[in-house]
């Protein structure tokens, strides 16, 4: 029976659509999850407390049953939340596809929302561009253009346009273009208005968005809720994964896919982590409902759902993000959208190749009806090449724990180590190989059990080998000609220690990225085969060797 006293704490992740609450308590000397609940954010705090109390009641000390709500409400609370509003930026650049693209990527991955994107080659008349910039309501202006050392007149013209549009407003201006123009750019604004940051596109061949992204991240934290930056979900998620990486010495990628935001974190195994935050990268992203969006989602789905239905479903998801897919069709569209968004947020400069652990967070993965669905969203969206452990943040613990003070995160995560992540298993993903031929042969060795395999995985094929949570195995992987796990060594044979989970070991020779037939029926058949392979009940493992 759970002992409930003062040793209770409430971890809360308040999202823009859903709030997740987890109650932890000491059980036989260690901190464990004793109740968890998720609800639409606008249901409010009292309802969350009621919900957690009712979840806890059957296992709680009957003497405390009446007091549970009061105890939970009074328990120490560790909370993170999504920002109330995104920070808005107007971007003016010389070329939409060169300097503009580099600056846009840096800004979007720092969590800014670009509300006006003007460039000298955007096809609009000068006056239309000016009118659009004048109408933009923004928190800052970002100017970019000119390769290093060049004196780009067009960059100065775009700067003048912004100076005219901004008029006597006082939002900060960031110059991220040719350093040779810095002085002239600053001269077009009042003293102190312009900050100069390194050019994200210093030459036609090179893109270097890092310094601009870091600058914009810092500016964003001063612009949006500066007093609670540590409690903002994208920040706390990054801090938690950095700590996890420091403790485990694993190279970890974590993706938190929410209704509005998507956050990608890559932690390097030494506790250093960098992140990309997309203010419109979540499941209500405008890109999903913009022209072409529903078509792209439809093409990635095995279910024969027409594009018009997909478009209406995505619009309804955007209009009412706190509702749930009640039909199988709606769920398929939601998961299709999730795979699409995961792929789009990792397609940038943070690559998943060679990571040891991939962590999925967000309601869409945590609430997936079957763990294999969450695993498929992760591997289809992210395509981590190599051998990668998969897990989900099922209890939505990472965000709240990452909001603790520096000295407390480690302790908090260590206390909840057993419940922190839900292991799904391990994915072995290779690329290359000849179509229809064997790409890899995998043998699974477990101490005290007969070996399984070698299992032949053909190029374009996906197979699951059951390996339960808490179980470990050694994989012997033999790669055929042309197939690769992305490791620098060209050896055709590899060994890897892997851990199991609710899905098992996923042997995936579908390539990176996957390729599917162009014809709709053939494509759906291939996608359905992959889905069925993931969701099929695994065969019973061979009896244990005596």
């Amino acid at each position: 029976m759970t002992s409930v006293g003062s040793e209770l704490a409430l971890l809360v992740d308040v999202g823009s659509a859903w709030t997740k609450g987890t109650l932890i308590s000491r059980v036989r000397g260690s901190w464990r999850i004793v109740a968890h609940g998720a609800q639409p954010t606008d249901w409010g705090d009292d309802e969350l407390v009621r919900r957690l109390a009712s979840a806890l009641r059957p296992s709680a000390d009957p003497r405390l049953a009446r007091d549970l709500e009061r105890l939970i409400a009074a328990a120490p609370r560790i909370e993170c939340h999504t920002s109330v509003r995104p920070a808005r930026l107007a971007l003016a650049s010389v070329s939409r596809d060169v300097s503009g693209a580099a600056a846009r990527r840096a800004a979007e991955s720092a969590g800014w929302l670009i509300v006006e994107n003007a460039s000298a080659d955007d096809g609009r008349a000068l006056t239309d561009r000016l009118v659009a910039l004048q109408a933009a309501e923004v928190d800052a202006w970002l100017l970019s253009g000119g390769f290093e050392g060049a004196h780009a007149d067009q960059a100065l013209e775009m700067t003048a346009l912004v100076a005219a549009a901004r008029g006597d407003r006082r939002e900060p201006v960031i110059w991220a273009g040719s350093s040779r123009l810095s002085h002239e750019v600053a001269g077009l604004f009042e003293p102190g208005a312009v900050s100069t940051v390194a050019n994200p596109r210093p030459s036609p061949e090179r893109e270097d968005p890092g310094p601009l992204r870091i600058y914009l991240e810092a500016l964003l934290s001063r612009t949006v809720e500066p007093e609670s930056a540590r409690h903002l979900s994208p920040v706390s998620f990054r801090r938690a994964l950095a700590q996890l990486s420091r403790e485990t010495e694993l190279r970890i990628m974590g993706i938190d896919l929410g209704a509005r935001f998507a956050t990608v974190v890559l932690a390097d195994g030494r506790g250093e982590a960098e992140s990309r935050v997309f203010a419109r990268g979540g499941l209500t992203a405008a890109a999903l409902t913009a022209p072409g969006g529903p078509g792209r989602v439809t093409r990635g789905m095995p279910e024969p759902i027409d594009e018009l239905t997909v478009a209406d479903t995505l619009q309804n998801l955007g209009a009412r993000p706190a509702t749930l897919p009640q039909t199988e069709e709606d769920l398929a569209v939601l998961h299709g959208a999730a795979r699409h968004q995961l792929a789009s947020v990792v397609a940038d400069d943070l690559r998943a190749d060679g990571i040891d652990l991939l962590v999925g967070a967000g309601r869409v993965m945590a609430a997936a009806p079957r763990p294999a669905m969450a695993a498929q969203m992760l591997i289809d969206g992210v395509r981590p090449l190599g051998v990668t452990a998969l897990a989900i943040d099922g209890g939505a613990l990472l965000g709240p724990l990452g909001s603790l003070e520096d000295g407390e995160i480690g302790e908090g995560m260590a206390s909840l180590r057993e419940d922190l992540l839900v292991p799904l298993g391990t994915a072995v993903i290779c690329r290359g190989g000849r179509s229809g031929h064997v790409a890899m042969r995998v043998t699974l060795h477990r101490s005290g059990w007969p070996s399984i395999g070698p299992i032949e995985v053909r190029s374009g094929q996906l197979q699951i080998v059951p390996l339960g949570a808490g179980q470990f195995a050694e994989l012997e992987i033999s790669l055929e000609e042309g197939a690769s796990l992305g490791t620098p060594r060209r050896s055709r044979r590899a060994w890897a220690e892997v851990s199991g989970g609710s899905v098992g070991v996923i042997l995936d020779a579908r390539g990176v990225p996957t390729s599917v037939p162009r014809r709709a029926e053939d494509r759906r058949a291939v996608l359905a085969a992959w889905r069925d392979a993931m969701l099929r009940e695994p065969p019973q493992p061979a009896p244990r060797a005596r």
């Binding site: 009118v131 004048q134 109408a135 013209e157 003048a160 529903p294 749930l324 897919p325």
Partner: protein
């Protein structure tokens, strides 16, 4: 009922109202002169300097406003270049030595499209305190408009047909039913309808309508403003019967529609049937996801614990007796409570 409504004002506008002033929908809040076709003004040539040298002789920085006849550049020998027009000095080219000045066009009013009292003015917006009923939708598009509210369908589930739009609809905000085709929307705009309120609309129809508007704008055939408000959701979704009755009761009232902000104000009106998440036992509810999207009924019970939906997701679930008499489990998150009828709205 009082609501604060913020109207963004583009940079460079001259505000025509003051705090505390009462405004009407057709009243001007500010005036604005949009930049028009820019003029090329030679600078280096008249100064007899090379273009890159002349850049250092500009008296006003690009981005500044210059008056007609104002010197914009001057050489050490006294030669000057005067601005031929009043406008924004947008650029100076170091290649050809010319400046670009965009004159400002005629004054254009920024209309309130709303009734109320000015409560705040800041550099980017004017805030109006609105007395009336406000209705928030889940989608919308188009400019701010105002007009008299009329109901053009007989039933909340009926589709708004093109034939229902006639000259009597001109300048009005038309309440339709469960959907409208792109053809209907195009005809409505062409007939001078100010705006349309719908229960649902298909994403494709909205997309087709937007494409038609874009083509018409490109060829210069688009005049007047038009707004659209979507109340329930995307797809063929009727208006809730209680809300439809409220619209019928307020037919003929003045209204303001802000499509992009998904909001409708109706003046001299009782409040619309309230919507509330987390319904309770006995509440009249509306379902918002398929297969029951847009259908209403009564919440008659709760399922203990978590219940598995047909999609496989575990959810807190309510039992709803829909108006066709069928009782079925629906995830609580997909339900909104609403007033039993418009008669519940007292103020």
């Amino acid at each position: 009922m009082s609501f604060s409504h913020r109207i963004p004002i583009p940079q460079g506008s001259q505000v025509s109202v003051s705090i505390g002033e009462e405004v009407r929908p057709d009243q001007e809040l500010a005036r604005r002169r949009n930049p028009i076709e820019p003029e090329i003004v030679p600078v280096a040539g008249p100064l007899r300097r090379r273009p890159e040298v002349a850049a250092g002789l500009l008296l006003r920085p690009p981005g500044a406003f210059v008056e007609a006849g104002e010197p914009i550049a001057q050489a050490s020998d006294g030669r000057q270049v005067l601005s031929p027009v009043a406008g924004l000095l947008l650029a100076y080219s170091r290649v050809d030595g010319n400046a670009v000045i965009s004159p400002l066009g005629p004054d254009e009013p920024i209309l309130a499209h709303i009734s109320g009292r000015v409560s705040a003015i800041d550099p980017t917006a004017i805030t109006i305190e609105v007395q009336g009923a406000a209705l928030d939708g889940v989608g919308g598009t188009g400019e701010a408009v105002h007009g008299e509210l009329i109901v053009s369908v007989r039933d909340p589930g009926e589709e708004l047909r093109a034939a229902a739009i006639d000259t009597g609809s001109t300048g009005k905000i038309v309440v339709g039913g469960s959907r409208a085709s792109a053809e209907t929307l195009t005809r409505a705009r062409a007939m001078g309808v100010a705006g349309i309120v719908l229960g649902g609309v298909l994403d494709k129809e909205l997309r087709d309508f937007a494409a038609i508007q874009r083509r018409r704008r490109d060829v210069g055939g688009l005049a007047g403003s038009f707004g659209l408000l979507l109340v329930e959701g995307f797809g063929k979704v009727g208006l809730d019967a209680g809300l439809f009755a409220w619209f019928e009761r307020h037919s003929g009232h003045m209204a303001s529609l802000f499509g992009a902000e998904h909001r409708l104000y109706v003046y001299d009106a009782t409040r619309p049937p309230l919507r509330r998440s987390l319904p309770s036992l006995g509440d009249r509810v509306i379902a918002h996801r398929r297969p029951f999207q847009g259908r209403s009924g009564q919440l008659v019970g709760f399922v203990d614990g978590l219940h598995m939906t047909p999609s496989g997701i575990l959810a807190r679930t309510a039992l709803v007796r829909f108006e066709d008499g069928r009782t079925t489990p629906v995830p609580l998150a997909n339900l909104e409570a609403t007033d039993r009828s418009e008669s519940g709205s007292g103020d």
